[in-house]
């Protein structure tokens, strides 16, 4: 039991709390630190079907960056990532600003905007696969209305397939951004609006020059959440296109999975996942520094 005496020893102090925290300690040390270190370590070996300690230096990374499939995956992730960030922030903020105008049916609108977020990426991907099906979906419907040369088949066109995935991802994710932004807007003092109105500043300028700068923490947090989810994007692609046509909609997370569990080339999978980790570190470290480095958190 916990400390009853006056000067308990360091180890038995708070013993119950320590015992209760064992799962957390194990997860943090064994899985998060240990697992990550293990994968990074083995990415320097030529493991194939099974992990083996046969070091080959940066060989796996050289092969990774020479592989067309990996380069396509990285390029896709870059396009998807940049556009996803811009559009989900933009749409999310505009929706939140509209919702913040003391409108009627606010709950109904919010329910509608957020319901796709409750659905899995598999469901999202399959629905949009169907909607974008060139023989039955949007393209076929527009053609049947008389515009016979209308072409909109992103999932079957190598050059634009990533935008087809982006459409589905935006449908699924902007509701969350809207909710976070709305929470941010509601946190802003009503007096600021009154002051801006008294000074005769137009609404859009109040948003751009006063409100958005004030919402900086909300934007940063949202940015990090979106960015972390972008790097992980996997299920959506699997469901919507399976990486096709050809390899044109591959993403890094899928590359990792395929090389680890199908191509029996663990080394490549480890190297690719280490690259994913690196990209997240580049995103998270500056944020963590801004968020936790500057001031003390409760």
């Amino acid at each position: 039991m916990s400390s009853a005496g006056k000067r308990p020893s360091q180890l038995t102090r708070n013993l119950s709390a320590k015992i209760a925290s064992i799962p957390m300690m194990l997860t943090a040390l064994v899985i998060f630190v240990g697992g990550t270190a293990w994968t990074v370590f083995y990415s320097f070996t030529n493991s194939r079907l099974l992990p083996r300690l046969n070091f080959v230096g940066f060989n796996q990374y050289e092969r990774l960056w020479a592989a067309p499939r990996w380069n396509v995956a990285v390029e896709n992730l870059a396009i998807y990532g940049v556009l996803m960030l811009i559009f989900s922030l933009l749409i999310g903020f505009v929706l939140a600003a509209l919702m913040d105008q003391k409108i009627r049916f606010e709950d109904t609108f919010r329910t509608i905007f957020l319901y796709p977020f409750a659905l899995s990426f598999i469901v999202t991907g399959l629905v949009w696969q169907w909607l974008l099906n060139p023989d039955f979906g949007v393209q076929a419907v527009v053609r049947s209305l008389g515009w016979t040369s209308f072409t909109f088949d992103p999932l079957y066109d190598q050059r634009i397939v990533i935008y087809g995935i982006l459409i589905a991802a935006l449908w699924q994710g902007t509701g969350l951004v809207m909710c976070l932004m709305l929470a941010g807007l509601r946190g802003i003092d009503e007096d600021i609006w009154k002051a801006a109105r008294v000074d005769g500043i137009p609404t859009w300028r109040t948003y751009v020059q006063i409100i958005i700068p004030m919402m900086r923490p909300v934007f940063i947090t949202t940015l990090v959440i979106i960015a972390a989810s972008i790097v992980k994007v996997y299920d959506l692609v699997v469901a919507q296109t399976s990486g096709g046509p050809g390899i044109s909609s591959e993403v890094p997370a899928k590359y990792v999975y395929d090389y680890m569990f199908h191509a029996q080339n663990l080394g490549q999978g480890f190297a690719a996942s280490t690259m994913m980790l690196l990209s997240v570190i580049i995103i998270v470290i500056p944020w963590a520094y801004l968020e936790f480095g500057g001031r003390k958190h409760a």
Binding site: I112, V123, V127, Q129, W130, K232, S273, V280
Partner: protein, 296 residues
């Protein structure tokens, strides 16, 4: 804050001002766009294949048939198994229920220890946990495969439950830690003075006061675990695949004629559990994601 709706004073503006037309017009157009996929899913699943081949995906069914639903549930094929999505559904139930209970039980005690029984080094582990939430799962997948294989749990249901507990821990621990920290500390101190210990205080004082946060955690976990695909596909075998994995295999299988109505019925069936939770929980769902996200 996410404010409850309801009247907040009267608005002296005219109802049909150009401002209102722009606001409501935009919102209605966007709402329409958000609802279209759900609508198309439902109408497609209620049509027969001949009607789908001829018609327009947006048109309502001329003849409503529930056959695609029956087929999706009971006889759709994945590989050699032809017992429909029901198998995946029950697998998902068997996976989700214990995973939700175990992950919340572990994380709530963790959060309580972090909030009220701080010991040396506790915050280091917590920081690792929170940073770990941002690490791509892909980098930890294989070491976990090895660990589970070594303890003989790879491919088993129990193994997957452990995985869900591990990856649910950061967000849940954060949720509970923040909640317990916000409770009045006098209660805790009074109980300590009365000689209550770690578990006693947790079970008799903290638990009864934290029903709302448990509900939020359950919502978060049920939807998260039900919607999981990656862990299901990595850590289970074909006969224990969760619903999402089986759904993907049914719809994206290359053999046979594509039955779009059955596919859409199967898709709705898979989305139904999180959707019901979402519509039933309303504000709590929003609170869950906001609490998880904003403070993350």
């Amino acid at each position: 804050m996410l404010d409850p709706s309801g009247p907040r004073g009267s608005r002296p503006r005219p109802v049909l001002s150009s401002r209102n037309i722009i606001i409501y017009g935009t919102l209605f157009v966007v709402a329409f766009y958000y609802l279209i996929p759900l609508y198309v899913m439902v109408v497609t699943s209620l049509k027969g294949m001949p009607e789908i081949r001829m018609g327009n995906i947006f048109s309502p069914p001329m003849e409503i048939t529930f056959e695609p639903w029956v087929k999706a549930w009971a006889t759709a094929c994945t590989g050699l198994n032809c017992d429909g999505l029901s198998r995946g559904f029950w697998n998902s139930v068997i996976i989700t229920v214990p995973s939700v209970i175990a992950s919340i039980a572990i994380a709530s005690v963790n959060g309580y220890a972090l909030a009220n029984w701080k010991f040396k080094g506790a915050n280091i582990f917590f920081t690792i946990l929170i940073v770990g939430a941002f690490i791509p799962y892909q980098i930890m997948i294989y070491p976990i495969v090895i660990i589970l294989r070594d303890i003989g749990l790879y491919g088993s249901l129990f193994g997957l439950i452990i995985v869900h507990c591990i990856f649910g821990m950061p967000i849940l621990t954060l949720l509970f830690r923040n909640y317990f920290s916000a409770l009045p500390q006098e209660l805790f101190k009074a109980a300590r003075v009365d000689g209550a210990g770690f578990w006693q205080i947790f079970l008799r004082i903290m638990l009864p006061m934290s029903l709302p946060i448990f509900v939020v955690a359950v919502i978060l976990q049920v939807t998260g675990i039900w919607n999981d695909f990656l862990f299901g596909v990595v850590y289970t075998r074909p006969d224990t695949y969760p619903m999402t994995v089986q759904l993907n295999n049914i719809v994206n299988s290359v053999q046979g004629v594509k039955e779009y109505n059955v596919n859409m019925a199967a898709t709705i069936l898979t989305g139904l559990v999180p959707l019901i939770i979402y519509f039933a929980s309303g504000k709590l769902f929003v609170r869950g994601i906001a609490a998880g996200a904003v403070k993350g």
